[in-house]
């Protein structure tokens, strides 16, 4: 589950460079949604990013940076486990998706409803088609917020703020606990960390399908 540090850096720079990229501003929310879907299907991340508000683009950069720091903290935790309980047998990690792969899942979108939102924004109810790697298409309904910025309609997107203490802080705390000999064995340390990480995301069992 390790995001290679170098690729994270590349992605952050790539996202930052895309901020300067500009396309024709969308005249209506519907134009914007069409443009975003077309860009996603073509793998054109620059055009997709240019359809976001400035704060949304910053959220993307922050998200990648946060993932990288969490990744480093996790590696430190595993090194502490190895130092305390013996070198672990190798684990072959799941490749982490990049932005292009994530976007490529957006296969289509249809605006079901639009209504005025706060401060001149519009609230859109959108039926989104999501494409799986095996080609299967599933649909879901999302609520999107769009607003005018820089002479055109832009999408407001972002990541929810992580609860505090966040995953990085918890990993660092448990790394110190392992180093201080507070766990009798490797599994005890991992179970305790797992319980602590569950707390960062609230009631995860309250799943809505």
């Amino acid at each position: 589950m390790h995001l290679p540090r170098c690729s994270t850096t590349v992605l952050v720079l790539w996202v930052a460079s895309a901020i300067a990229h500009a396309t024709a501003p969308a005249k209506t929310p519907a134009d914007l949604i069409r443009s975003l879907i077309a860009a996603a299907q073509q793998g054109d991340t620059d055009t997709f990013l240019s359809g976001l508000t400035a704060s949304s683009r910053k959220a993307v950069t922050d998200s990648f940076a946060r993932q990288a720091s969490v990744q480093q903290a996790q590696q430190a935790f595993e090194q502490a486990l190895d130092a305390r309980f013996g070198k672990a047998a190798p684990i072959l990690p799941l490749p982490t998706e990049d932005l292009k792969v994530t976007l490529s899942r957006l296969a289509g979108a249809e605006i079901l409803q639009s209504k005025p939102g706060p401060a001149g924004s519009m609230l859109l109810r959108v039926k989104t088609s999501i494409k799986g790697p095996s080609g299967t298409i599933t649909t879901r309904e999302d609520s999107l917020i769009v607003r005018q910025e820089g002479g055109g309609w832009k999408l407001v997107l972002g990541s929810p703020a992580e609860k505090q203490p966040g995953a990085k802080s918890i990993l660092e705390t448990f790394t110190k606990k392992v180093q201080n000999g507070e766990f009798k064995d490797r599994v005890s340390a991992m179970v305790a960390l797992d319980s602590a990480l569950l707390g960062t995301v609230g009631k995860k069992k309250e799943v809505s399908k």
Binding site: D142, L157, D194, L197
Partner: protein, 239 residues
């Protein structure tokens, strides 16, 4: 007396002749002296497959926390570790992590030309499960692996396999007959990429990934491949 002596001599001669014939005829079918050798693994690894990221209107790798689990020294890890957080406006993007862990264990069989039998021996050393937001360990450990396959390529994150067989789940010590798999490796009928142990879940269907926060993981260790062989037919093996 002479007649009796002759009769006795005749019987003795017949018996001697019979025993010679039997001895000569069974020279090739004397029961061989078999040997047993426990091999240690030549390679071990745990592969992680599944999905990790975001679904929906997403512009980030998502924020699923990393899985805190990893194998210890001399161990493989088998099972799954799920995470799901549904998106909600203004973040219509669900974070998801469906990690499937498969263990690979390989053995060097180059000293054998043929075997009488082979058994894979191992122990379930630890296990955990997570449901309803709580992670607990089991004592004695529970074995969540359900399937034993043979690898179709060098160890990788996905650990693909074929020639699958069901595994017993009662443990914590296991002794699984693997004679046919080992014979295929020795004969070259199947390339030797080792065993792949997996379960209880199949690979994640990307079009319909599990959306839960459950986990079931077992750590296995003390792997041995017990080979019974005829030294006369395996000159490179210990005699």
């Amino acid at each position: 007396m002479n007649r009796l002596f002759s009769w006795k001599r005749c019987v003795a001669c017949v018996l001697a002749l019979l025993s010679m014939l039997v001895w000569q005829g069974c020279q090739g079918c004397n029961p061989p002296v078999l040997k047993t050798l426990d091999l240690s693994p030549s390679g071990m690894a745990t592969g992680t497959s599944g999905i990790k990221g975001s679904i929906g209107w997403c512009l980030s790798p998502g924020n699923p926390p990393p899985t805190p689990f990893s194998p210890g020294a001399g161990q493989i890890m088998v099972g799954f570790d799920d995470f799901f957080r549904a998106g909600a406006p203004p973040f219509p993007c669900s974070d998801i992590r469906d990690a499937i862990f498969r263990g690979g264990v390989s053995f060097d069989l180059s000293q054998f030309s043929s075997i009488v039998s082979a058994d894979l021996l191992y122990d379930a050393q630890n296990s955990i499960s997570r449901s309803n937001g709580e992670t607990t360990g089991q004592s004695p450990p529970q074995s969540f692996a359900t399937t034993l396959g043979v690898g179709t390529q060098a160890f990788s994150f996905a650990m693909p396999d074929d020639n699958e067989a069901s595994l017993p789940t009662s443990g914590p010590s296991f002794d699984v007959g693997v004679s046919s798999q080992v014979r295929d490796w020795i004969s070259g009928a199947h390339p030797n990429f080792g065993f792949v142990i997996w379960g209880p879940r199949p690979p994640v269907d990307p079009g319909n990934p599990p959306e839960d926060n459950d986990a079931q993981i077992t750590w296995y260790g003390n792997f041995k491949l017990r080979i019974v062989y005829n030294p006369a037919q395996n000159p490179n093996a210990p005699q």
